[in-house]
Symmetry: C2
Subunit: 298 residues, 2 copies
């Protein structure tokens, strides 16, 4: 407790050594080499690889490892988090606890109920790849990313200031927002794009012309199809915990697709050009605003 | 006529010095420096820039320039092509004529009607960027791309063999297919992704949570949003000439989005995981087949 009281972080336990957890260990190792890193994973083989690679100082499969940590970061799929919150309550009595899950309202509620507002803080780094797992980890994954925190009371407790500093050390810009506002937002900018990408790939691959079309498909199709390469189990769990906001986003998308259909049916080229131009302008405003705020990650 | 009879190409006129036309000139200059390149463009300023940059040997705004060419490549937006087909008939009596338009059935019909099958061959390089115009041109744009030809009779006339060699010289793999089959295919893999990308950006930007969401949007949103940055006038013309195939693609997409909606409403995580897994598998099969055929452009 003395170390935390002085605002220091000596030992961080990362639960889940998939893409996010292992990238986090690599990023902290590179930028905060004084931190002791403890990896907790489902598979002995992954723990052994993390130790052999020097990604963690200690690693294994047991919740007992959590007792060493000043801070626990839960990086499992969202449907496995509840059990780890309970494990933190039982095995990490003095640690702060946070997470990297993609939906925040339910985990903020559960974490706060189990551990209290001073000990649990929901978090979400806005970074990812279509690849998953330990082997896809990248120390640079978080550079330039926004890291969202969703404190239950609206303000980040002082005990998490050392963790916020670590997050900034690995290149992130911090946003603090309400968990429900976060979940509405990611319904639009993460979960809808992933659903769309998957729907497009499924539709195209089922089309009679797909055998020819797949030979012609180029960078445009590839970009929109990229998210469909994401981990189905991870996305199924994310979407299961954020169905409401994602359905609202789907409603909004379908209204736009209805407008596109009417433009195609009417053959009104001027109206079509205006419709596309406003999409281009909205995208450009977004890119300009993000550039002014420090830019998007590469 | 003697030069063409020997299978040589000495002089190529490129009509339209936007992204595609100017990239084509740069690519030919780099790989086929012996070719005389003639640029024809709407704006005197662009012609002057192309001459100053050494992108063309001659450039200007008049159709009279076409008389110099062994081969004319029409690289204008698709709704401006008809007038240039007429100009080729009137000013380039001995030249072969081809194009780079994104829809092929109508231009193959019109080009063949005006010039005959031996003199007109529809073409479409499957390459692009979200940027447009002369300034966005890139000599490497076509490296690794598929270049589709759509001969009216099914076979490429011998007179176009020198042009096919030039297309291979700049790094393309040639596909010959029926114009209608091409248009069905690009409805799925070009026009649907562009429409989707624009619809997603419009829907997200109109959402109440957009002011917060736009600060969080990261690489997933950016990738799906990229195509919405394309030239509205170009896309409006493409879509106006390919409404039928694009509507069929939209039908297929909306069926998939209906399935996604039902998965979200039912909360059936196993079914959702299967649905996403089959999208991932279809994407991976596509990437594997393309890798086996030489890969996608970067």
């Amino acid at each position: 407790m003395r170390a935390r009281a002085r605002g220091q972080l000596r030992s961080v336990a990362v639960v889940g050594l998939g893409l996010i957890g292992a990238s986090l260990c690599r990023a902290l190792r590179a930028r905060r080499p004084e931190l002791r890193l403890v990896g907790v994973t489902r598979r002995t083989e992954t723990a052994e690889r993390a130790l052999a690679d020097g990604v963690c100082d200690a690693a294994g499969t047991g919740a007992g490892l959590l007792a060493e940590a000043d801070l626990v970061v839960i990086c499992t799929p969202v449907d496995a988090m509840e059990a780890w919150l309970v494990a933190c309550r039982d095995h990490a009595a003095n640690a702060q606890v946070t997470d990297c899950g993609s939906t925040k309202a339910w985990v903020t509620g559960r974490g706060t109920a189990l551990l209290g507002e001073q000990r649990f803080l929901g978090g979400h780094p806005m970074a990812g790849r279509e690849l998953s797992g330990y082997a896809a980890a990248d120390a640079g994954l978080f550079a330039g990313a926004v890291w969202v925190f969703t404190p239950a009371s609206g303000a980040v407790p002082d005990g998490f200031i050392p963790w916020q500093r670590a997050v900034e050390n690995i290149g992130c810009r911090i946003e603090v927002m309400d968990a429900t506002a976060h979940d509405d937002a990611v319904g639009w900018i993460s979960h809808l794009p992933f659903g769309l990408s998957s729907a497009m790939v499924r539709a195209a691959a089922a089309a009679p012309s797909w055998p020819a079309a797949q030979r012609l498909a180029a960078s445009g199709f590839r970009d929109v199809a990229r998210l469909a390469g994401g981990d189905p189990a991870m996305y199924s769990a994310i979407i299961g915990s954020n169905a409401g906001p994602m359905l609202a986003a789907l409603d909004g998308l379908e209204r736009q697709l209805g407008e596109l259909r009417r433009l195609l049916e009417s053959g009104d080229g001027t109206a079509a050009e205006d419709w596309f131009a406003s999409a281009r302008a909205a995208r450009q405003r977004w890119l300009d605003e993000r550039a002014a705020a420090g830019g998007l990650p590469p």
